[in-house]
Symmetry: C2
Subunit: 218 residues, 2 copies
């Protein structure tokens, strides 16, 4: 009964089941015992593939953030690169709202995250931004994305209902509040991103235009 000819589990299978469980029942709803049951196995079996629950969750994070689009800097257009990155980053988080708190809080895995951070930094530098400013711009954009993801999806809509009702007193249908909240969240994120980029141009006209000029040559 123990040790079947082909392994019952694999890291991939465990990751997928864990993510599905978190999506369905929330981060709190994921326990090694429930996960094992979902996979038709006993809880200790999981420890043949992962040393801790946290190690597993970090792999799930890598899986979620694997598709973040960092390619927008290719032609040297930093505004486009930053916008594409930020939007795809936010979309990746939005697809798994129950994971956002964990993604945001932990130090995160280095394998993928570091590679992406380097891509952003490199894209900004090669577009004309000095190294230190490039680091700050990357960090600022991350603040925006993570903050937006947490405020949008991790928070319950019912909690925000009263806020929106105050703002739009003529909104009669309470069941449309989630829609409206999502719309305001999206508009706020886009405003923040556009204003931030426009502000960079105002505060650092030389770097911003140099970056623009170089993108024309490319």
């Amino acid at each position: 009964m123990a040790r079947p000819r082909t392994p019952l589990l694999s890291r991939t299978r465990i990751q997928e089941a864990a993510l599905a469980l978190v999506d369905r029942d929330g981060l709190q709803g994921l326990s090694m015992r429930k996960l094992a049951q979902e996979l038709g196995v006993q809880a200790p079996s999981l420890y043949s593939h992962y040393r801790t629950k946290e190690e597993l969750l970090n792999d799930v994070v890598d899986r979620i953030t694997a598709d973040i689009d960092v390619s927008g800097f290719k032609n040297g257009d930093w505004r486009h690169g930053l916008t594409v990155w930020a939007r795809s980053y936010r979309d990746a988080l939005a697809a798994h709202p129950n994971m956002v708190a964990f993604i945001a809080s932990g130090p995160g895995r280095r394998e993928e995250a570091l590679r992406r951070a380097d891509a952003i930094h490199g894209g900004l530098v090669s577009a004309g931004w000095p190294a230190r400013l490039a680091t700050m711009i990357g960090a600022s954009t991350r603040y925006l994305v993570v903050g937006a993801a947490i405020n949008s999806f991790a928070r319950g809509f019912d909690a925000d209902a009263r806020v929106y009702q105050d703002r739009y007193p003529n909104l009669s249908q309470a069941h449309r509040l989630p829609e409206l909240a999502a719309e305001i969240d999206n508009d706020s994120f886009e405003l923040a991103l556009r204003a931030f980029i426009a502000g960079l141009e105002t505060l650092y006209p030389r770097q911003a235009t140099r970056a623009e000029a170089e993108s024309r040559h490319a």
Copy 2:
């Protein structure tokens, strides 16, 4: 032995002990049993004052965020109001890094949070911004603050060490990395805030100037 003449516990005493415990041992390190022990009492006693652990934590959050400065809008200067609010908000979170993940993830208590949200919104509107834009500006700023707090404080510095070392290869003393990380975090936050405000002026010159003109009259 049960039921002393003066109660051993109070909501205030429980809140303070809980916050001290989280500050010392992290959010994971707070359990009702450990908290009770710290207060010289048995765990079930806590449930005479709080119905759940979450209700207690929400009160702790209120205690932390009580000092956020919303008064900067008084003279109608929305840039000043926004800056003061954002900085004091971030400072409040920075004072209790182990609470940031919880503060960010839950819907939060309504009593305090709603009042502040209204103050910000009212301040922006009376400074000349239309209601919908005021809502978006408030949300965007919150994204920035929460995102910055999470990336700065909840993440371990050792995890970021490699990133900074790449950026500053001539940094020889590894023990100074925390300092440097804090400095970059702070600079990035200030950049994000300034660029956002400058961007608002570029994108909405009429509202921004109208708000400015009104602040002169006040």
